[in-house]
Amino acid sequence: MTLRHPSRHRPLGTSAVGFATISAVALVTLLAPPGADAQRRGRRPQAAAAAEEPSGPQPTVRDVATIAARLDSTNPDEVREAIDLLSVIDHPSVVPHLATLLRSGRGDEVTDRALTALRGLAHPSAIEVLTEFTHHRRPRARRLAFQALAAITDRRVPRLLEQGLADSDRNVRAQCARSLGEIGATGSVDTLFHAFDRGVVEAAISIGKLGNRAAVGRFNEHLGHVPLSVMLSGYSEFVRRGDIPDEVKIEIIGRLGDISGDMVRVFLQRYLDTFSSGRAAQRDRVRTVVLETLRRIPGHAGSARGRTVSTDSADAAGGAE
């Protein structure tokens, strides 16, 4: 499939998998509770998971040297276990040991585990070794390295993630595009648009998260040239943000109403569901526009997911509350 940018007419090499992913992300994002985004930023998932396990006494920073010695073991299981234990310790002193382990050249599984552990540690001292691994020949290692970088709060990280958008592997590019949105790299919006023009569809979500009002207009230009699911993934971010003015959101809804169709209808319906059922919300201008737009979209009674949305039903929902 070849898509053309409205102004540059560059081919967008997006795949069906990409669109499906974006669609799922767009819809799931809408349903996700506020604050879940912070969790997706990758703060110590393994450490948290390990901490939740009902295991024996937890290792402490005093055990680092002892555990690190096991990283040199020729037994991969022992090395893996040591990595897990180090990640549980969750202390910056662990980083050099994992860096040494990574640089010593290990098998895929150990390498990936160590990178994941560094992601959990999220310490700036790991940036150097992680940067090295953003040039690893194995794409998964690069992707994990970028993931780990994205977990670190450091001014160097956005630039590194932007470099990842130039990677030849689409998964790496997607990871970096998503990560830029997740870390709130507002300075990378232009780069994300560039990537979006070049077919990095995951950039849409990040643009939706980071773009300002002007970015919405720039994003709108892609409507009709980029698969709707991709656009919806960006719009879903725009419309749920509080810092985007209502008139901008209304404009977005209006544009989507012009497009109409099942996908838009479902999108708007889900969006409608995010409004609170309070009386103030009932009078929300945006909600009203959404309702009006939904009314204009013809329903498909036979569709499993489609249902005709009427003012009555919406009001009924509100009334029920």
Partner: protein, 946 residues
């Protein structure tokens, strides 16, 4: 005789002319070829060469006659145009199977089974001839006769029949015909002669009137594939070109008038420099003839050379034209819009006729258009007769060759890839540095076919300039957002390696560590880093090896894996694994002890490293050991060889036999071994004056058959094994006899001999004091001054206490202690006679010996007698040559003179070796015993009677 027969046959044929078809005598296998007389007659008959400056057709105008391509709803035609006016002269319907030929006022072509002749000026068909089962191959014309040839089986097959026919040009009436088993090529005709290529070996030269063969040419060095007539002469040949001259009878390239064009190896190079005369020129569109070299002969200054008009060859490859100078230098290239159906080389350029009717005259010097015209007709084949056609002057400057070659490479016509690759190779040979950049740019053209990319890679590898452009390209990186591609490392890296551009190593290392570098190029990249970087690249190689040693991407085989089962597929080597192995090898080669340490740790079975790479490292070590073993073996072999050579040389340098000096020197070195025996003997025999050895020396330096004098049992028993144990210098002769005498200082002989030295005594000045004699002996010793630092032990031996007869001593005489008074008196009385210098000198020896004192008589007769016979006689003969006096005195001295014996002995020895150098005397003159005697007259190999 045979010529007479042929002549008669020719006469008979001549008589029969006009009486219908004649079958003359020709093409006989008995006809003698390359006959000088025959060819001289032919040369006489041919007209003088002239310039080719006007068309040969009857109108005198430049004309093109073409067969057209079939078009929908229209029949094929033959059309004639006047090129000077661009007008169509005529057109007739004809389904031409062969290219039309302009032959004077006739146009000849063949259709399916018929040969058809048209009037050149009107297109009217003049005549036709049936061609039953024959393939028309071509015709020539001379005067009013057309000679055409047709063949069955020209390209092979069981049946091979050739016809060559002479017909009236206007009526088609047959004048003679030959039908033979064999194949004919297109005939040429000139000066009343017809030149018929025959069986690809010969050219039969027939009389045009009778068809009788008058001469035959054969090249012993070439296949004769074609012949054509030209105003400048008759030409024939295959890959090269012969001109018919008086030299042609030689039949060889070197002795005839022959030329091989100095052209480079051209793409799809035709087998023949001129179209094959045995193959019909197709009248329909065909690839045949679209790749061809065009040239036009010019009048040659002599019979030896062949001249080319405009000094230019034109190589046409469909739409591309390459112009070459006679030395093979490319002048220009040109891309034409249409495939060239035919062309004609002319003085000012090349006239081309394209398949869509575009005629263009390309300037000889620039390749630019001198003239162009379009017939607006789809052409299948065309014949041109446009000699001298030059409608306008040249236009403009020649375009830079670099530019035109670049355009040619970029031309998108993928039918012509071979010629485009040829253009790439031409570009690569040019020295301009910018060509390197051009080649890189071309390489990165997306639509560039793989064959051309390979040609560019080869060309880049051959570049020796423009490395800065390679470095520029190397600095590029892949960037998805910027849409920049990775540089073509597969082309750049080998070129940098070929240029040995070591400055590129840092950039190459950057690419090594860049994940965007394609895996396929990794092995070559690592190899270049190793070879260019040497030890400096080792840290990067270590990083690379360590980082990826366990990574799954690098886990493949490093060599192609043959299938285990028959019919299975070969598993190709994994480039990443190969790169890793090469990196390990680089560390092995340049990493020093630290690198070896790393590799040693990785080579063990438990090391974390992919097995193929580990095996490779182990193989490196093993290979090194093997190489070291081989080197050691080779070194040992070389050493042995050197030793053998040295031994052979030393053997060759060995003396034929030992000189007495060498024997003396050897005894001197081994003096201590003899000391005990002689000392013991001296105890037994206090008056022992000398010991003499005579023995046989083998060439290995060993003594045998040692005889000792005096022959006391104890002395012999003691000395024989010790002398036999002495290692003498080696020599070449199988064995020799040698002798040596130990003259013991103070021995009984000394006294008597001392007085009996006539020479010394004779030199005593008159009235010399009594001590003069001692002084003179001391002086002679001083002159010799040969006393070595480590003198033999017996040098220090004191003389036995005996009365010494002093030739010129004082009047008084003291008896030695213990000597009987009577004896002493007798001694005194006897010695009186010897005191006179003259009398004592001349006869003193005998007198002394005989009256040598009471205690010396026996000894003197025994020892002195022996010594006198051996030493004296020998010395006299040996020393007599140069130092007769010394030899003589030496002879005397050997009888007992102490210091005198040394001096005289040295003189005698020197004499024996033909010289009187002090060095020669040193060996024998220094020690007290050193009065050696030369046994030259005893040294015959088999003379071992002693």
């Amino acid at each position: 005789m045979s010529r007479r027969i042929i002549g008669l046959a020719g006469a008979a044929s001549l008589l029969a002319v006009g009486c219908g078809p004649q079958y003359s005598n020709a093409f006989s296998h008995h006809f003698l070829d390359n006959q000088e007389v025959d060819l001289a007659a032919v040369m006489e008959q041919l007209p003088a060469p002239s310039t080719d400056d006007r068309p040969t057709n009857s109108t005198g105008r430049p004309i093109a006659v073409a067969s057209t391509q079939a078009a929908e709803g229209a029949s094929r035609q033959i059309i004639a145009w006047g090129l000077d006016s661009g007008e169509q002269l005529w057109a007739v319907d004809a389904d031409a199977a062969t290219q039309p030929e302009i032959l004077g006022d006739v146009v000849l072509t063949s259709t399916r089974d018929r040969l058809r002749a048209f009037d050149l000026s009107s297109g009217r068909e003049l005549w036709h001839a049936d061609l039953p089962d024959l393939a028309y191959v071509g015709a020539g014309r001379d005067g009013d006769t057309i000679f055409w040839a047709a063949t069955v089986g020209a390209l092979g097959g069981a049946r091979r029949v050739g016809h060559v026919v002479a017909v009236d040009a206007r009526s088609g009436g047959e004048r003679w015909r030959h039908e033979v088993q064999g194949v004919f090529g297109r005939p040429a005709a000139k000066g009343g002669l017809v030149f018929v290529p025959w069986e690809r070996q010969n050219i039969a030269i027939l009389d045009a009137l009778t068809g009788v063969e008058t001469a035959r040419l054969r090249s012993t060095d070439d296949v004769v594939a074609w012949a054509f007539d030209h105003p400048t002469g008759i030409y024939y040949g295959g890959q090269g070109m012969y001109r018919l001259t008086h030299r042609a009878h030689a039949g060889t390239r070197t002795e005839t008038t022959y030329m091989m064009p100095a052209l480079p190896e051209l793409p799809r190079q035709p087998d023949s420099i001129w179209p094959d005369g045995y193959v019909p020129r197709p009248g329909t569109r065909s690839a045949r003839g679209r790749i061809r070299v065009y040239f036009n002969p010019a009048p040659a200054p002599d019979d030896v050379s062949i001249a080319i008009e405009g000094d230019t060859y034109y190589f046409v490859y469909y739409r591309y034209v390459f112009a070459y100078g006679l030395d093979g230098t490319l002048r220009w290239t040109r891309i034409l819009e249409q495939d060239v159906a035919n062309a004609e080389a002319m003085p000012h350029g090349l006239l081309t006729f394209g398949e869509q009717g575009q005629a263009t005259l390309l300037d000889r010097d620039t390749g630019n258009d001198r003239w162009a015209w379009n017939a607006q007709t789809e052409i299948a084949s065309v014949d041109l007769d446009a000699a001298g056609f030059d409608p306008s002057a040249s236009s403009g400057e020649a375009r830079p060759l670099r530019q035109s070659l670049n355009e040619l490479v970029l031309d998108p016509d993928n039918r012509l890839v071979a010629a485009r690759a040829f253009a790439i190779s031409l570009l690569g040979q040019m020295e301009e540095p910018e060509i390197t950049r051009d080649l890189l740019d071309l390489y990165q053209q997306r639509a560039m076919p793989g064959a051309l990319k390979e040609a560019i890679r080869v060309a880049l590898r051959g570049r020796r300039s423009g490395e800065q452009y390679l470095m520029e390209a190397l600095a590029r990186r892949y960037d998805y957002l910027q849409e920049t591609e990775a540089p073509p490392l597969e082309a750049i890296v080998p070129a940098l390696l070929a240029m040995e551009h070591t400055e590129a190593v840092p950039q190459l290392i950057t690419h090594l560590m860049d994940h965007e570098t394609p895996a396929a190029v990794l092995p070559e990249l690592v190899d270049a880093i190793v070879r260019l970087g040497g030890a400096e690249a080792v840290p990067a190689l270590r990083r690379f090896l360590i980082l990826y040693r366990e990574d799954s991407l690098f886990a493949g085989p490093i060599t192609d894996q043959q299938p285990e089962e028959e019919g299975g597929q070969v598993i190709p080597a994994d480039p990443e694994a190969r790169a890793l192995a090469r990196a390990a090898q680089g560390i092995f080669e340049h990493g020093g002890p630290e690198g070896r340490e790393l590799l040693s740790s990785l080579a063990v079975a438990t090391a974390r490293l992919h097995e193929p790479v580990r095996d490779h490292i182990a193989a490196l070590y093993q290979g090194e050991q093997d190489a070291a073993a081989r080197a050691a073996t080779a070194e040992e072999q070389a050493r042995q060889a050197a030793l053998a050579a040295a031994a052979a040389e030393a053997e060759a340098a060995l003396p034929g036999r030992l000189t007495q000096e060498q024997i003396n020197a050897t005894f001197h070195e081994n003096a201590d071994t003899l000391r005990e025996c002689i000392a013991d003997e001296l105890e037994r025999n206090e008056r022992l004056a000398q010991v003499r050895f005579v023995f046989i020396l083998s060439n290995d330096g060993r003594a045998s058959e040692v005889t000792v004098a005096p022959r006391s049992d104890e002395l012999v028993a003691c000395l024989q094994p010790r002398v036999a144990a002495i290692q003498f210098p080696r020599f070449q002769q199988r064995r020799m006899r040698a002798s040596f005498t130990v003259s013991i200082r103070g021995g009984s002989e000394a006294e008597g001999t001392e007085a009996a030295q006539p020479a010394l005594a004779a030199r005593a000045p008159e009235g010399a004091p009594w001590f003069w004699y001692e002084q003179e002996r001391a002086r002679l010793r001083g002159v010799a001054d040969r006393i070595p630092e480590a003198a033999a032990w017996w040098d220090e031996r004191e003389a036995p206490v005996v009365a010494v007869a002093t030739p010129t001593g004082p009047e008084t005489f003291e008896c030695p202690p213990g000597m009987a008074e009577e004896a002493c008196r007798q001694q005194q009385a006897g010695g009186g006679g010897a005191t006179g210098p003259e009398g004592g000198g001349t006869s003193g020896g005998g007198a002394t010996a005989s009256s040598g004192g009471t205690s010396g008589g026996t000894t003197a007769s025994a020892g002195g007698g022996t010594t006198a016979s051996a030493g004296g006689g020998t010395t006299a003969s040996a020393g007599g040559g140069t130092t007769a006096s010394a030899g003589t005195s030496g002879g005397g001295t050997s009888g007992g003179g102490t210091s005198g014996s040394g001096t005289a002995g040295s003189g005698g020895t020197a004499g024996s070796s033909g010289g009187t150098s002090p060095g020669a005397g040193s060996g024998g003159g220094t020690p007290w015993w050193a009065a050696a005697t030369s046994d030259d007259d005893e040294e015959e190999e088999d003379d071992d009677e002693d």
